[in-house]
Amino acid sequence: MQGLEVRGLTKRFGGLTVSEDIDFDLVPGDRKALIGPNGAGKSTFSNLVTGILRPSAGTIRFDGMDIGRLSEAQRVKRGIAKTFQITTLFRDLTVRENLALTILERQGRGYQMLRRAGRHADTGAEVAALIDQFKLEALADTRVADLAYGQQRLVELAMTLALKPRVLILDEPAAGVPSSETHLIIDAIEALPPELAVLIIEHDMDLVFRVARQIIVLVQGRILTEGTPQEIATNAQVRELYLGGHGHD
């Protein structure tokens, strides 16, 4: 099978079960969202799939191959990339350097010691294309630390795409972004390559209903229900448990 195939995934921290018997598939072209109250185990699930955490039980397959033993970096090399819930970038480097570093590593040039980092024409062209795609021209030579948070989010997204992933996990891409800038994030997600398999973990219901075609509701580490945005929006259990307080309609 192409894509991700998760079966019986379970994670316990001591006596606390944070993920319980989760089955989950993500194939090319998917736009799935994982929602649920704070502490439901959404980030933990993402960390299990990307290899930051080791599962207590269950299997994770990618293109039919068991990747449960691979390190985080090895999974990235195979095409599973994620953005962090809290933006994590090279803050003292410029936007251009952040992108160049990412691309050089993907190209396997990270151990070159005597050639200048800026001398690779193909790397430079790729950086320029991404800067263009994300409309970052004016900020290209600004230190990331000096950017607004929404802009940093875009840079992180651009960097993650620079890895040419096949599976993309976005952990709360709109968290911390002022609502006036959320549309930038939504636009960028809508412009993602169609064949990419995307999982969005999100609190912002507007964003979820705009971009997701399939929604999974996680409660206390278990999948409560799964369905199209329509089905989820009208699901009584979900409305009561999750949407009630937010007043989405």
Binding site: T50, V76, L89, F90, L101, R106, Q112, R115, A117, L163
Partner: protein, 319 residues
């Protein structure tokens, strides 16, 4: 003037200063050479700490390994200086690689303690193996052949000076190239955010092991220079004091900008020399005061003085 030329200006000025000092202080060549050798050691620390962000207090382990390797190689195998230099570089790198495999699995305080432990284990081994190393008496009987078969080491220290200056310059250029390379960029990335580095598919551990190994090799070169120029290796080359002083020199000068390492070495050694001569008992206070002043007023080191002055000037102009 373009930025490439501009970035070579400080090191070229330092090189010119070295030549001036050579002619100005013809009877202090041994001292000047000692500064050059320390600068190589501090540069190696700048790679490890300033670029890769590995906080170590055990860089002397590789300096000592290089010193003993060069001394033993000269005595038992071949007294050619350049060959000895290469052997010492390999010895320092090998020790850094093997110890780095373990040490770099840890972080923070544990890592610092382990780096200290590695150096003290080396110290103890060199002390116990007196048949090979001469123990506490030091390794004696090193007689070097002329450098490249042309320049015999002389007792005034002319050859030693130029030899050490050449090695320092080569190391400096090499590290400058590394700093600008994809590898150098990746070290900055690790320094900034190991999490992000892993998330772009890099094994941070192996990258750090590589930087640590390179740093060990360069520290080994410094050790070799010391052994060859002074024709003596003492247990002191593994000492904690040496590691700590190298760290102070780097902090004085400023990390992450190679010429800062050289400048810091120069200032520290000079103050040390001058203060110790004037007041052999209290010179540590002078050094301590200097370090405190830099840490409080110039947290980025002496290399930040021009920027600090500019900012000060700007503030005055503004008010």
């Amino acid at each position: 003037m373009n930025t490439t030329m501009k970035s070579w200006l400080p090191p070229l000025a330092l090189l010119a200063l070295a030549v001036v000092l050579y002619f100005a202080l013809p009877y202090n060549l041994a001292f000047l050479t000692r500064i050059l050798i320390m600068a190589v050691l501090v540069l190696s620390l700048d790679l490890v700490l300033g670029f890769a962000g590995i906080a170590t207090l055990g860089q002397a382990a590789f300096y000592g390994a290089g010193a003993y390797a060069a001394g033993l190689f000269a005595i038992h195998v071949w007294a050619d200086p350049v060959a000895g230099l290469l052997v010492a570089g390999l010895a320092g790198a090998a020790l850094a690689f093997v110890s780095g495999l373990i040490v770099l699995r840890t972080h923070g305080l544990t890592l610092i303690m382990l780096t200290i432990a590695v150096a003290s284990i080396c110290h103890e081994i060199a002390n116990k193996a007196r048949d090979v190393t001469g123990g506490a008496d030091g390794l004696r009987g090193i007689r070097m052949e002329p450098v490249l078969g042309l320049w015999q080491f002389d007792f005034i220290g002319k050859t030693g000076f130029w030899y050490a200056l050449t090695v320092l310059a080569v190391v400096f250029v090499l590290l400058t190239l590394i700093a600008r390379s994809p590898f150098g960029l990746s070290l900055r990335g690790i320094h900034e955010s190991p999490e992000r580095m892993t998330a772009i598919g890099v094994s941070v551990y192996w990258r750090r092991v590589t930087a640590y190994t390179l740093g060990g090799g360069i520290a080994g070169l410094a050790g070799a220079l010391s052994a060859q120029v002074t024709q003596l290796v003492s247990l002191e080359s593994f000492s904690f004091t040496l590691s700590a002083e190298a760290l102070i020199m780097l902090i004085l000068g400023g990390t992450g900008r190679l010429y800062g390492a050289v400048l810091g070495t120069l200032v520290f050694m000079w103050v040390h020399h001058w203060a110790a001569a004037n007041d052999p008992f209290n010179w540590l206070f002078v050094i301590g005061g200097l370090v405190l002043a830099v840490v409080f007023f110039l947290p980025r080191g002496i290399i930040a003085i021009p920027t600090a002055l500019k900012r000060l000037g700007g503030r005055h102009a503004g008010t």
